[in-house]
């Protein structure tokens, strides 16, 4: 039997040579006929396999089949080559430079602030919040008074306010997006679930403070809303924004228009908690402020504080964008330098 196996090998080698040296389709068909066509040498061997002893049958059959499929593949490849060569001879051929750049406008760049802001908004929209806007030139009443920040109260020191040169002096550039809470509640009855993004202004400028920056505010009021709900919602938000496994903590704090109030810290995304310059060695990064809407605020919008409870939260978009993209100077956002914008 080794003879037969060896013969198959020899035939295969001859067949492959005949295929690769074929110049025309008829040369190629000729080679096929000789080696693996119906009456070809290998087909003949296969026909006679039945007459062999059982154990030889397997080995010879397998070997002959393999040889045939080899030759067929080689045949098909060579046939394609011969035909393509014929087509080129008839119709000509040109190779264009596929490595030259494509045409059409290059994509422009997103501004990292509006990018981050859109992502924040999208998360809360998925959680059932709808958008509300409000004016940037705001009345003192909406920016302070109705948010439980009376005149001559130290809480006004928390924000350096821009005042407009205006008769009566009661127009300011809003220092936060919180006035939208008041404006929205004035026109809506609970249940209320609002997300309020926008530009805000404070008279402050250094590498982490810009006189104009952006906030996203959110709030919800209904009959059964609790601080536990606030914790649940913001935990979900932080997971979506900063990753499933990044721990966070709620820390008591103070805002005049929420009580109880909290600040939310996430585990420092730079050092992972071991302490670094960005988190001032605390291992935590303050990411947003929140709390239960102070009953005093309901007094300004005509909600019954015994019937309704609600929460509010607010975050600085620049701060989040700086953490996400590793930007250390806030002023870069407003210079619109092409070397900066083109990275996004």
């Amino acid at each position: 039997m080794p003879d037969t196996i060896e013969r198959i090998a020899i035939l295969t080698e001859e067949g492959l040579r005949a295929i690769s040296s074929a110049k025309t389709e008829s040369d190629l068909l000729d080679a096929k006929g000789r080696y693996f066509g119906k009456k070809g040498a290998i087909s003949e061997i296969l026909k006679n396999v039945a007459s062999l002893a059982l154990e030889d049958r397997k080995r010879v059959g397998a070997s002959a089949n393999e040889a045939r499929s080899n030759l067929e593949a080689s045949f098909a490849r060579r046939l394609g080559e011969i035909r393509e060569k014929g087509r080129r001879a008839r119709e000509g051929f040109e190779q264009i430079d596929v490595t030259l750049p494509g045409r059409g406008p290059r994509l422009g760049h997103r501004h990292p602030i509006s990018w981050t802001m859109s992502e924040i908004i999208a998360i809360f929209q998925r959680l059932g919040f709808s958008i509300r806007g409000g004016p940037e030139i705001e009345k003192d009443y909406y920016n302070f008074e109705a948010l439980n920040i009376p005149k001559d109260h130290p809480a006004r020191d928390m924000q350096d306010t821009f005042y407009l040169d205006w008769p009566g002096g009661d127009l300011v550039l809003r220092t936060h997006t919180s006035p939208i809470q008041i404006r929205a509640m004035e026109t809506m009855r609970p249940p209320v679930r609002v997300i309020a993004p926008g530009a805000v202004y404070r008279c402050d400028s250094d590498i982490t403070h810009s006189p104009m920056f952006h906030q996203v505010e959110g709030f919800a009021v209904d009959r059964t809303i609790t601080m536990a709900d606030l914790k649940g919602l913001l935990t979900e938000f932080c997971r979506m924004m900063f990753g499933e496994s990044n721990p966070l903590r709620f820390r008591p704090s103070f805002f005049p228009f929420t009580e109880p109030s909290a600040e939310v810290d996430i585990r420092c995304v730079i050092c992972g908690g071991s302490g670094c310059r960005v988190c001032k060695d605390s291992g935590w990064l303050e990411i947003l402020g929140c709390g239960m809407i102070d009953p005093a605020v309901y007094g300004f919008v005509g909600y019954d504080p015994e019937e309704y409870t609600g929460f509010a939260f607010g975050m600085g978009v620049e701060r989040i964008a700086m953490l996400r993209h590793g930007i250390s100077d806030i002023r870069l956002f407003f210079e619109n330098d092409p070397r900066f914008l083109s990275q996004f």
């Binding site: 760049h109 008279c203 006189p211």
Partner: protein, 801 residues
């Protein structure tokens, strides 16, 4: 605020370490931003004594000291001159590392072995600079580590106090907070002394005219005191907490301010005219010189302290120069009062003068603690000074009830927080806070809140105490029950803007965000060119810089400056857009504020395109983008009107965009004068859209049957006078017949061939009926109508090829 751990321990003997206090306070809402060990880096420095000082044999400026740390003797080469044999000094032996990172080794200095270094205050991080090495008190025990010997075996906590927690602006306040967390006891130190002087009423008098602004005024008098520096402990604590030591009297008032949070003032009694005090507001404006030597403009209504002749202090803010304690002072009146917070804040703000005192009064100082503070001051002072205490004291308003009773329902706490609080948990928190609880039956409880907690006035304030002192980490995380989603016009607005932005990005525009304020000076420099009189702009009364004085009336200048920046950064093709608000005064509503979308185009039409030339952008590129944006915003039936009313755009190359009578935007070439002012060399095109005016309430498109009958196309070329607006021609052709489905301009040219003052425009018209195949005769009739229109109405002549 800064608090020393050892000082804190005098008020609450807590088991917590400084680090544990940092964490516990932070998690209870009193944020400790840093906790620093003061002896850091002094571990290797020992108290030593100089046995002898000899000149260095090879260096005139160096000395050779023999020093002992009690056990061994060391030879130290030293460059300072302020030491002598017998001085107690700080020795860093070879191998030590100093706070500034310096590693001390055994060295040979000018041929003499030095086995360490004698340290200066500066090298130990105790002072910014020091003239020589540190010389300790002569009785300091030799051989001990340095830090405890100089009181630096301590921790300095830096605490950020929120505006509601004025009660924490003292060592005592922080101690109360620690006790509220741990359940430990706050201990108030004894304040007893012997009254050996004359009755106080014989040597001084105190009156309060405006008791509403000064509910309590306590005072004591001491006599026969000598003004000298305070002992080291007092000086060190003041300095470490950021207060400059001055003399024993001033220091003791500052010490009490830091310790109890009670601002105090010491008057030189002999300089108080009539030896009397009155507390009343200023009737007329006047000038008054405060301790810091500054003349202050006092306005009427500001609360002052008066003697028999005039003001001697701005109440609660700062004392006057005229009654300041000086070297020769011997009789002192200590003031310890409670002033109404809003009055102090208003005065301090109007004077532009914030002091440690006004800062505390604004946030609320414990009215029940004024007398204790004076007594404590006198008692402490008696520990290191000789004087007589006048018998008796003044205490106006001392019988007032300053505590409040507030109702509290545990069930309400559960309702607001979303966690069950047991009665036990609630009473426990109140007891740790020192708030007595009454009526724990069925109705609301009655909680008595001590006077120092100004922030607790309502039930919700008590609920906050329950939540924070049980820990926010014990609040579960649940999800709000969802109500029906509420989709607003603002959601639609945001979605449309996002779509337009996305489109612009695919067209190669990058997004810019510029400040909403612009430079009024720049605005005025360009005169009327910016198209909005600067007096019509909203101006800031307290701008942060000259470059940001007014709110932008349109978005052009920001984007133009962005082009300028890009060119400077060697980027010569600029496509940028911005979405933001424009502001100004308006006749009807006082002022307006409206969202705009603006973009700028500069450079080549197809930057980076290697085959299609380097044509610069022109008006029609900007117009095409504008039209697409308007379509995305659902804005139909708009028209372009040649514009002369936007002076920042080039006349003849700009257009207003009209929509049923409103101007919803403008597009055109930026005026050349503006470009050259910013050194922008080529033409730039600009468009600005008033988003809300352009947005239509999107109605669902109504389907019309697909046209089944074949269209016929006719190409018509026509020569017009140059001034004929092609837009009008297109509109009129379309209006000729319902069978004219589409008219497209496929070629425009001018040139000698057709004569000057003329242009050739080629149209392709698609003619198609809904219900039949048009006959040749019908098509011909429509074609004739078009030709007549072009010739008769627009003075065109049809070109035949």
């Amino acid at each position: 605020m800064k608090v020393l751990y050892t000082w804190l321990k005098e008020f609450v003997d807590t088991r917590l370490s400084p680090r544990e206090i940092q964490d516990a306070l932070t998690m209870a809402g009193v944020e400790v931003s840093s906790c620093r060990y003061l002896g850091e880096g002094m571990e290797d420095v020992v108290v030593s004594r100089i046995l002898g000082v000899d000149p260095h044999p090879n260096a005139e400026k160096l000395s050779l000291c023999r020093v002992t740390d009690g056990k061994g003797e060391y030879r130290i080469v030293c460059g300072a001159r302020n030491m002598k044999a017998g001085d107690v000094v700080a020795l860093a032996r070879a191998g030590a590392r100093l706070p500034n990172g310096m590693q001390i080794g055994k060295a040979k200095i000018r041929g003499q072995v030095s086995e360490g270094m004698l340290c200066s205050e500066q090298e130990l991080g105790l002072a910014e600079e020091s003239p020589g090495i540190m010389i300790l008190q002569a009785d300091t025990e030799v051989g001990n580590p340095l830090a405890p010997a100089i009181g630096m075996d301590d921790w300095l906590l830096t605490i950020e106090i929120t505006p509601n927690r004025g009660d924490c602006l003292s060592v005592l306040g922080v101690a109360r907070e620690v006790a509220a967390i741990t359940g430990e006891q706050v201990v108030l130190p004894e304040a007893s002394f012997a009254e050996t002087g004359p009755p106080i009423g014989e040597i001084a008098s105190v009156a309060v005219t405006h008791t509403d602004l000064c509910p309590r005024y306590s005072a004591r008098v001491i006599t026969d005191v000598t003004i000298v520096p305070s002992p080291p402990l007092i000086q060190r604590r003041l300095a470490l907490c950021g207060v400059r030591p001055i003399n024993n009297i001033v220091d003791i008032t500052n010490y009490l301010l830091l310790e109890l949070g009670q601002p105090m003032h010491a008057f030189d009694l002999d300089r108080l005219a009539g030896n009397r005090i009155d507390v009343r507001t200023s009737g007329i404006p006047r000038t008054f010189t405060t301790l810091d030597g500054t003349a202050r403009e006092i306005q009427s209504g500001m609360l002052l302290i008066w003697d028999a002749e005039g003001p001697v202090a701005v109440a609660g803010v700062m004392g006057g120069e005229n009654t300041e304690v000086l070297g020769g002072t011997s009789r002192i009146l200590f003031e310890s009062a409670h002033f109404a917070p809003a009055s102090i804040r208003s005065t301090a703000r109007r004077l532009g003068l914030s002091s440690e005192s006004s800062y505390r009064f604004e946030r609320g100082v414990d009215p029940s603690g004024t007398m204790y503070a004076t007594d404590r001051a006198v008692a402490l002072l008696s520990g290191f000074a000789d004087f007589k205490v006048a018998s008796g004291s003044f205490d106006i308003g001392g019988d007032g009830e300053y505590r409040r009773a507030i109702p509290f329902r545990p069930a309400r706490a559960t309702r607001v927080i979303g966690r069950d609080y047991s009665d036990r948990e609630c009473t426990d928190v109140f007891s740790r806070l020192g708030f007595p609880v009454n009526d724990t039956g069925e109705g609301p409880w009655k909680i008595t809140v001590p006077a120092h907690r100004f922030d607790i006035e309502r039930e919700i304030d008590l609920i906050e105490e329950i939540a924070r002192l049980n820990g926010y980490d014990t609040i579960p995380t649940t999800y709000p029950e969802s109500g029906a989603p509420d989709f607003s016009r603002d959601d639609l607005f945001a979605a449309e803007v996002e779509r337009a932005s996305e489109f612009l990005r695919t067209e190669g525009f990058s997004q810019a965000i510029n400040f909403s304020f612009v430079s009024g000076r720049e605005w005025e420099k360009h005169g009327s060119l910016l198209g909005f009189d600067s007096s019509d702009a909203m101006r800031l009364s307290n701008p942060i810089s000259e470059e940001a004085t007014m709110m932008r009336p349109h978005l052009l200048m920001g984007l133009l400056h962005n082009v300028e920046t890009s060119i400077r950064r060697f980027v010569d093709d600029v496509r940028m857009f911005e979405v933001g608000k424009a502001f100004g005064k308006s006749f009807l509503e006082g002022h307006f504020e409206e969202p705009r979308l603006a973009f700028v185009l500069y450079g080549r039409r197809m930057p980076g395109n290697w085959s299609m030339g380097a044509d610069p952008v022109d008006f029609y590129d900007a117009k095409g983008v504008t039209e697409s944006i308007l379509r995305l915003l659902g804005c139909e039936s708009i028209h372009f009107i040649p514009s002369l009313s936007r002076p920042f755009l080039e006349p003849g190359k700009s257009s207003e965009i009209g929509k049923s009578g409103d101007v919803i935007g403008w597009v055109g070439a930026v005026r050349r004068e503006l470009l050259s002012a910013l050194e922008i060399p080529g033409p730039a095109y600009y468009a600005e859209i008033r988003i809300q005016e352009a947005m239509s309430s999107l109605r669902a498109v109504q389907y019309r049957a697909i046209q089944k009958f074949p269209p016929v196309f006719r190409d018509i070329a026509c020569i017009f006078p140059l001034g004929v607006p092609v837009g009008d021609v297109l509109a009129m052709i379309r209006a000729l017949s319902p069978e004219i489905r589409e008219v497209e301009v496929f070629d425009v040219f001018t040139g000698e061939k057709i004569g000057t003052g003329r242009k050739s425009v080629a149209f392709r018209v698609r003619i198609q009926a809904e219900d039949r195949t048009l006959t040749d005769a019908e098509v011909h009739s429509i074609h004739t109508k078009i030709v007549n229109l072009l010739e008769n109405r627009f003075g065109g002549s049809i070109r035949t090829s």
